[in-house]
């Protein structure tokens, strides 16, 4: 399973990509990732309305590519659910993650 976080917009206007492959993780960490994903409940993240009320708010995309199913969601600094923020913080804390500027 692969988790890809793309962050764009923001005051910098840069697009940054963070990728984490569960295959690169130790077994216990892969289990934690699954737990973080379950708690983030990406199925219930609504698409933002499309009108921005916070200038320079970052825009986010999270894609999870699994063996059985894949999901892609969008949100902003304004609409970000707390448990999705915690998922991203966990991914950002893993040394196995791969980061790039698009």
């Amino acid at each position: 399973m692969k988790v890809v976080i793309v962050r764009g917009g923001g005051v910098a206007g840069l697009t940054a990509r963070t990728e984490l492959d569960s295959g690169a993780l130790p077994k216990s960490a892969a289990k934690t990732l699954a737990g973080e994903l379950a708690r983030a409940n990406l199925d219930d993240v609504p698409e933002p309305p499309g009108t921005v009320s916070w200038p320079d708010a970052q825009l986010y995309e999270i894609s999870v590519e699994g063996r059985e199913r894949s999901i892609t969601v969008h949100f902003t600094d304004e609409s970000m659910p707390e448990n999705v923020r915690l998922l991203m913080a966990w991914v950002d804390s893993r040394p196995e993650r791969i980061e790039s500027i698009e």
Partner: protein, 357 residues
């Protein structure tokens, strides 16, 4: 509604919040205004912005003199808690001496310099022209790589050390001026944050951000580096967020065009790669027009090109203005405020970036 005005001042915030959502239109407006001024919940000012959006009230028209708290600014510590904890704990109130926290003092000094710029140069009393208190929160979220204006206050992350340097987001006076100018735009032209009107919104923030810096340094247009956010990114990414005089050269991810020939036509579709239709990308075009006009005019940019751009932002543009509207308005305003030489110079700048034929 005297009945309501009488109860407002002592109504608990929860009741006000309920009225703001469930009351009749007069009650709603009064409740939102009372929430905005209630000293008891001054530290929860962000609720006003959220309510006004939920109720679809234009903050620019709603927020009258009632939002003036009588003090110029204040800085809060979000303590890495993020959105639910905005603004956070009061860290330095107006008039208090510097504190140990560098980010708090930078937000304080940068907000103060921005206030003084608008007051001294344009006789504008804060973002709304009516003394709105400048509220800032620092240490937003964990290793958060951004700063933004949330419709009622400034928010600064600490930076992760991967994109922004740790502490980088409060370091740059032009970034603070940029963010606060989003507030000025919200209270004036209200430029829609999408595609060309959004790129104009971004450009006006860069224009007045750099002018706050130039004014603070007493720097003539010819002496400016025209860089936004110099030294805020990690060095491996580049020297700054944007170059107004030479768009596209500030960092390794800089996609800004410097003329219409390079206009990047992106959809506004929530995809982070598309940046609300390229608002931070195509802003390079009007940014360069301003830098070209200011340097060609010479002297202090805030006295010439800045005055023109300020008049246009605050009195000439509608929310859906396009580049051509901004170009025409600045040319026309240059003739009204100055003379035909200045007008020709502004016209020439927009020609060089391909907006005017």
């Amino acid at each position: 509604m005297p009945r309501f005005q009488c109860t407002c001042s002592i109504a608990p915030p929860d009741l006000l919040a309920w009225l703001a959502v469930e009351g009749d239109p007069t009650q709603r407006l009064a409740a939102v205004r009372a929430l905005a001024t209630s000293a008891a919940i001054r530290s929860q000012r962000a609720v006003v912005g959220h309510l006004s959006r939920r109720l679809n009230i234009n903050t620019g028209t709603m927020m009258g003199p009632e939002l003036a708290s009588g003090q110029r600014l204040s800085v809060y510590d979000n303590q890495k808690q993020g959105r639910p904890f905005l603004p956070g704990v009061l860290a330095r109130d107006w008039g208090q001496p510097p504190v140990a926290d560098v980010a708090v003092n930078q937000a304080y000094d940068g907000s103060n310099a921005t206030y003084e710029f608008y007051q001294d140069v344009f006789q504008r009393d804060s973002l709304d022209g009516k003394g709105l208190e400048l509220v800032s929160s620092v240490h937003y979220g964990v290793a958060f790589d951004n700063a933004f204006w949330d419709g009622s206050q400034m928010v600064y992350g600490d930076g992760s050390g991967r994109i922004f340097q740790v502490g980088g987001l409060t370091r740059s006076l032009d970034v603070i001026g940029h963010e606060l100018t989003h507030g000025v735009t919200e209270f004036t032209a209200g430029l829609v944050y999408s595609k060309q009107s959004g790129a104009l919104n971004e450009s006006f923030s860069d224009v007045f951000g750099i002018l706050v810096k130039q004014y603070s340094l007493k720097q003539a247009a010819s002496e400016s580096d025209w860089l936004i956010g110099e030294g805020t990114l990690v060095p491996s990414l580049g020297k700054a967020l944007r170059s107004m005089i030479n768009p596209g050269t500030a960092n390794s991810g800089d996609r800004q065009p410097g003329s219409m020939a390079g206009y990047v036509d992106l959809p506004d579709n929530n995809d982070p790669r598309n940046d609300n239709g390229g608002v931070h990308i195509n802003s390079g075009i009007p940014n360069r027009a301003f830098a070209l006009a200011a340097t060609a005019l010479g002297g202090n940019a805030w006295e010439t090109a800045g005055r023109i751009w300020y008049t246009v932002l605050t009195t000439q543009l509608s929310a859906n203005a396009q580049f051509i509207d901004a170009a025409n308005a600045t040319v026309e305003t240059a003739g009204k405020l100055f003379d035909s030489r200045v007008q020709d110079t502004v016209h020439n700048a927009w020609q060089q970036v391909g907006v005017l034929p």
